[in-house]
Amino acid sequence: MAAAEAYITGVGQSAVGAGQTRHPLLLTLDATREALDEAGLTIAQIDGVSTYPGRAQGYLGFSPVGADELIDALGIRATWYAGGSEISSQLGAVVAAAAAVRAGLARHVLCFRTVYEAAALARPEEYPPLRRERVDGQAQWFAPFNATSPANWTAQYAMRHVKRYGLTREQLAQIALTARANAMLNPRALVRQPLTMDEYLAGRMISTPLCVYDCDRFTDASTVLIVSAGAALDEVRCQPVRIAAMAGTVERHSWDQAEWMASYPTGRDLWKRTDYRVEDVDTVQLYDGFSFFVLTWLEALGFCDVGSGGRFVEGGKRIARDGELPLNTFGGQIGAGRLHGFGFAHEAVVQLRGRAGERQIGGDPRVAVCTSGGGPLATALLLARD
């Protein structure tokens, strides 16, 4: 273990559901307790907190708990903390934490992502959305054209793959089919019914070429990842997983002015910062807020050429749990629920430790890639049990 490195130690997760009534701060506490317990740490040993995007005042379901609020609520003595949306997507909070522990600003950073979107939608009187007379900032370029959903923005990138590279619905379907099959083996997954190709192809269109099965679903849950300094690993009881490389790039923070999604430069950057190679990767946990993101990540990370993501996943065998590159083994966000980025790092750690139970992949996995985002914001982490 190298003192100058950063490791993910404890990981934890609350119950995952839609329409939960447990307070979002308490869901965060549930995930924190599980992560502390696994790491063999106490809350008194946590000296840093990192989250994305911080408390979202205008849309509380998206992010009901802020870093400073959690610090205060749990009595954390933080020597370093960060929380905000202007970072390279959800797992950017882990990148920040890793940089902090490597710089000696903290020893054990509690990284969290709490979502309450289903509950907030169901109980608007408790979680009222902030309504504005007019839109500004990024929203002004989309809202006037009723292009307000990320489904619309992502669909347009997906349509380019359809037109330029011949992406078919049958190919794209493999992401959702794989996710739903894997979710069957995850006791915490939100959706635990199988999905067939026929059901997929008959799925209601949301925004062409994306149908309802290509989209994740609003979820209430909290996920915690503890990032620890290499020099503090003697305090930890669990098998640490090293953050072997990190990347998070933005060309233009925009859903329509960038030629391509931020996943592409991010994927390329990741391999510049490690001696590991694409061939060393045992499993990938790739952001699937919409299924299409996964294809861009596979291309971006060099598992296949740009434009050939559809052919790479065709038939589904290669990305199945027992295939050559097991993908989203917990069900992804499409199957396990919209944990919003953190679920991918959580699962990568669980798989690398061999603690995934019924859904554990074979072959003693040692190296995993997990990602978040993929539109204008993207983060990739290479995790290794070495």
């Binding site: 007019r134 500004d136 370029w141 054209f145 009723n146 292009a147 669909a155 349509m159 329509d256 002015q257």
Partner: protein, 140 residues
């Protein structure tokens, strides 16, 4: 397939400010206006008071042709709120004479299933309140 009539659509409107006013009100004079660097000719969108290519502050609002090409598109079928009429076409239009600038917009005045990548389009402003929204129609 149903024709999308622009005026039936309820739309969120932008809050006008010093940076965006010329873009959102150019339609009053029938002009699609973008910010352009007067030193290196880079178009700057979203509008900002500095050029992203050369950091020049000589950035001015200029009229562009108002025509372009559908770079990509999607047909939205989901009713995101109750008042919404679906389906409709959302497109990203690459503007003639303004390399690197794309507008997210709606293609109106044609069947939703007739839009394709590469279609030539022309701006058609729709006024709501003090805002002139640049929608696009297919040419020919």
């Amino acid at each position: 397939m149903k024709k999308v009539e622009a005026m039936t659509v309820s739309r969120a409107l932008p809050r006008l400010d010093a940076d965006n006013r010329s873009f959102w009100t150019g339609g009053k004079d029938g002009q699609l206006r973008l910010m352009q660097c007067q030193d290196c000719r880079t178009f700057i969108h979203p509008p900002r008071p500095v050029c992203r290519s050369c950091l020049s502050e000589r950035v001015e609002s200029v009229a562009v042709a108002g025509t372009g090409v559908v770079d990509t598109f999607t047909v939205n079928h989901q009713k995101w709120h109750k008042a919404m009429e679906v389906p409709y076409v959302i497109a990203r239009v690459a503007l003639d004479g303004a390399p690197g600038v794309f507008l997210t917009t709606n293609i109106v005045g044609c069947p939703v299933d007739s839009v394709d990548v590469g279609d030539r389009v022309r701006v058609k402003f729709e006024q709501q309140d003090d805002v002139f929204l640049p929608l696009f129609e297919k040419i020919g």
